[in-house]
Symmetry: C2
Subunit: 646 residues, 2 copies
């Protein structure tokens, strides 16, 4: 993708953006505020800028007079960058130099980690878990009429140096036909043992040479969404990817309500059937996209949280939700995928990611494996933030984990205009430091409908840093304006006036909303602190943060640090891994090293139950401020605030 | 069972028989001929004897006048022995002392071997393959909320010193309920590994203490009949036994026609379904008889010939019947019984007896295991005689085997009045040395319908020894009587006149019948000779013979040696094991030692294909005489015949 540079005047700030980016998003990236409240549909007409050098694509509107167009005026939300440009943000309100310093620092992009097959190989981590071996056998004769299986095994020993072989009944069934259809040329699929004392299991035999077609499937069974990838075991590449809502949603939004449903007669069976239905539909899509023969799929790796795992395997989950929160198992034996109802073939072996506890499940273990934190000497904090947040801390020598309930604020729950991260959700936000006029960005660049988690964090961070709210999330009573107001005794800020929304009501952020946000971030931060304390460490010793999960991928790091959701750390030392669960499942499909390591990792991960840790409540209370009772823990923020106070 | 002695005069022969035995069978046992041709229904009235001391029960008939009754006359076939008696056989034909010597020697009973659990234990062979272990676990607490599976495994390690444990998904599913239903007292079922590097597999968990109920099933899948036993793993006892005709009979009498049916579209699936249907009905019967809970059945061991094995496991058998006669496999992996359609439970593990070749199958291997010949230093010849005869020779150090086609003569095929061993079949026979009048015995003591294999052998042996037929099975042309006659140019002997049969026709034995019998016995004997020669031995080096199989159990040893079906050997050195296949399956259920040994045994059994052994034809031609071209190979017979010739 080619890039262009955009220079914003009078700030003299230069940003580099991909060709095709809108001017308003470039401004946000550069920390340049431009008033905007309609989500980018050109409706509010506030985001006027002047193109001084170069040209932009679009940006014209009825709201700009022909004379102004002539002068270079454009609407930033409608203008796309196609070459290097210099644009001026008209200073329509008087602004002195000091105000300029209140602008947010330019965003710094954290590392985004993708699965990389080549580097796996370079690191020596690539140990194929499944191999196809082509053999040319001699046909039976009167002098040599050994059984078909014996012939196969002898050739595998002598020609392919394969030993400690076992095979399944289904292979025995296929063998006489495959040998003769292939005129005694066959391809056998061998699964390598995870343990060094294990056997090489022959799971399939095909006539002729099919060594070029060897595939695996990775499936992340999320509470909300199920994602699948079809992986080429020769190249490590993903041939097809698809996702779908977990059909269990109709039986409960979260794991607790699902468990309650599973406790009803027939409930467990129903939920199992439904999730398998979704998995089969995802599988169907990725097989179709990849254009592979399902006969050539050798393994399928599943990861999910503890409840999703137990429901998928039809294991009564009732004890997960009741003290003392006992999961049924951590490690699961491999099994034939078809035996749980997966429409695949009769030989693909299923692997289930192991769990650590009722609330630290296989999705987190998969993330730890996929991110590689368990084999790195750097002290890492791994965070998967959602309604429940799971935390893992450690390095190659040790690992500790816990889970805490953040409540649904980050997914829009308990927030007056909260919503999930869907089209129309305000996901980003900026504030004019003098006028407190907002600049908003919505998912899909449409008129706003509500606020999603990442938008909420950004709003709270900016309002706090600009002094619009105090460290308890209360609006500065002196700032009462048309946007900051009381309604029925509750203080609130109007983000978007009703005319510019899709819902015909003022979209506001209230003090109770901020209170819920502070509780949520406080729960997570204090969870991190408590976990670290339990292992004798403190937050400033953390050398790296890994953020996993859908929500984690959208967090604005600086803002998350400003509100005290995350500890303050150099953004270069933060890595986003996206769907860590899927990444881990894919890694396990690709290399036996990960399959081997995961057993040890699960066993060495020490689980802490925060409810059993007395210091957790103290840490929680201390974290119920923006960013924290002790602002010294956030030195960069403190420096900015000190500077502003000058 | 109490016994009585019977003295026969004028022979002065004393036999001991169980109370309740008929006088005529006692006479047969003592080698005393009494004319009789109606099968024991009192119809022919020929078997008159005089009770001289003591009393018998019954034996009265309209055919005996009141005066004769007064004198002590009875019909031997209707008289039951209830106390010691002395009876006289009236010499109604003139008979000199020399004739007495022509009577058959008293029968000698060969050893009959039964499975004996106690001797297994004494021999140190008892290594339980399945154990139930009772555990009292501590309930989970906030301080100790490890997963259910982990808790179970920890207790098994610490309290029961169990290690290298693996468990199945179905156990994981049952665990949370079983633990809590049993208030944390549970019984786990563990299957021991066959190989020393294997794992202990946990296949079931039950609430409370069920260690007293631990059962196994052994199933012999015969081409004709399927037998099952339900075995108590604590005592080794058989709690229930049942058999049924293999439902596949409707699709072909023998293995070749079944294979041909299996080659038709859907044929293999149909035959699998049908045999599983029979197995399930046998299983149902033995479970009902035993009054056990099918949940407490842990394993099921199957044995059958190669074709029965492949049809049961739905493995295309077409290559078994085509040169070079390649079976698909010898060793089969253990599998869940329910996966092939067995109605048992969801955890019982099925073991399939391994095969050696297309024609030496798991039934023979099971017989070798059950008889223990593979762990004895004595050079043993193991024979299972049927349409196909399987032969194994060897000892603890080595084993060799082969199979030969005897043709259906022993099962009544190709014999004019041949029939299977069923009610009404003439199964035993004696001949008056002077008058050539017969004494016959039928299965069920009813009027005769035909001749079964054992009857055929006895007839040929006696006729040969009495000079009625020569060593080529041709009737002595000088002996033409009302019983020895030509019909349509074919010489025959009338065994039963039509009036005394169930079928209203004279039951005869023809020269072509004798020819078929000689071919059948010649095939088997020459098979034995050839197999021994191939390993550098000769028949006189054989120290023991083991006879397995339904037909084997009924053979009259001396007669079988007289016709040259078996080599001449001291009957004390012959062991009858009955259904060796079932015996081996039961042994494998009871001790892991057999399961371990069977792999080595199968691998060390050298298989010879007679069709590939040029000397077989020469040996066959030499065996086409009664008893053999070289009568010197049968010294006892030769001595008797020499004496008779004096």
């Amino acid at each position: 993708m080619s890039e262009c540079s955009v220079t914003f005047l009078p700030h003299d700030r230069v940003v580099t953006v991909p060709t095709g980016e809108s001017l308003i998003r470039a401004a946000l990236q550069g920390g340049v505020h431009i008033n905007a409240s309609c989500g980018g549909e050109g409706v509010c007409g506030k985001c006027r800028i002047i193109v001084e050098q170069g040209n932009v694509d679009g940006g014209l509107s009825e709201r700009i007079s022909p004379e102004d167009v002539e002068k270079g005026y454009r609407l930033a939300c409608l203008a796309k960058i196609t070459e290097d440009v210099v644009v001026r943000v008209p200073v329509e309100s008087s602004m002195d130099k000091s105000v300029m310093n209140l602008q947010a620092a330019p965003r710094r992009t954290a590392t985004i980690k993708h699965m990389d097959f080549e580097s796996l190989k370079e690191e020596g981590l690539f140990i194929p878990p499944v191999e196809k071996i082509f053999l040319t056998l001699s046909p039976p004769s009167a002098q040599n009429n050994m059984p078909d299986v014996t012939r196969l095994i002898e050739y595998l020993k002598l020609e392919a140096d394969e030993h400690k072989l076992e095979l399944t009944l289904s292979v025995i069934r296929k063998l006489p036909g495959a040998m003769r259809d292939g005129e005694f040329q066959v391809t056998v699929t061998v699964i390598r043992p995870v343990r060094s004392d294990g056997k090489n299991l022959i799971i399939n035999v095909q006539p002729g040479d099919t060594t070029g077609e060897n595939y695996a499937v990775a499936i992340d069974i999320g509470t909300t969404t199920i994602y699948g990838q079809l992986i080429d075991l020769a190249t490590g590449g993903c041939l097809g990817e698809a996702g779908d809502f977990n059909g269990q949603i109709s039986y409960g939004e979260d794991v607790i309500t699902r468990i309650m449903y599973a406790e009803k007669p027939g409930g467990l069976e129903k939920l199992q059937e439904v999730v398998v239905g979704t998995i089969n539909s995802v599988l169907e899509k990725i097989i179709k996209k990849s254009e592979v023969d399902r006969e050539d799929i050798s393994t399928i790796t599943f990861s999910g949280n503890t409840t999703m795992t137990q429901l998928f395997l039809q294991i009564d989950p009732r004890n997960i939700r009741r003290a003392p929160y006992v999961p049924t198992a951590t490690l699961y034996p491999p099994f034939l995928a078809e035996t749980v109802g997966i429409h695949i073939n009769n030989h693909a072996i299923a692997l289930m990611y192991p769990q650590v506890s009722s609330f630290v499940g296989g999705d987190i273990v998969a993330g730890v494996m996929g991110s590689g934190m368990y084999r790195d000497e750097v002290l890492t904090l791994f965070l998967d933030i959602g309604t429940n947040a799971e935390l893992v801390v450690g390095n190659e020598d040790w690992l500790a984990c816990t889970a805490c309930s953040a409540g649904p604020a980050f997914e829009g729950g308990g927030i007056e205009f909260g919503m999930r991260a869907a089209k129309g959700a305000i996901e980003d936000f900026s504030l004019d430091p003098v006028t407190y006029e907002p600049m908003i960005f919505t998912i899909g660049d449409v008129r706003p409908k509500g606020i999603c988690g990442s938008g909420l964090i950004t709003m709270a961070a900016i309002m706090f840093e600009m002094g619009l709210i105090n460290n308890r999330g209360k609006f500065n009573r002196e700032h009462e304006t048309s946007r900051v107001r009381q309604t029925n005794g509750i203080w609130e800020y109007v983000i978007v006036w009703q005319d510019e929304t899709q819902i015909g009501r003022d979209i506001v952020l209230t003090e109770p909303d901020l209170d819920n946000l502070i509780r949520a971030k406080g729960a997570i931060y204090s969870g991190c602190i408590t976990l670290l304390e339990e292992v004798g460490l403190s937050m400033d010793m953390v050398e790296r943060i890994i953020l996993a999960g859908g929500f984690g991928s959208y967090i604005d790091l600086e803002k998350a640090m400003t509100i005290g959701l995350l500890p303050e750390i150099d953004p270069d030392r933060v890595t986003f891994i996206g769907n860590g669960s899927l990444m881990g499942a894919r890694m396990s499909s690709l290399t036996n090293r990960i399959r081997k390591d995961v057993v040890a990792v699960t066993q060495k991960m020490t689980n802490f139950e925060l409810s059993e840790t007395p210091s957790y409540m103290d840490n929680y209370i201390a974290a119920m401020f923006l960013p924290h009772t002790e602002v010294e823990k956030f030195p960069r923020l403190k420096a900015r605030m000190d500077k502003r106070a000058e």
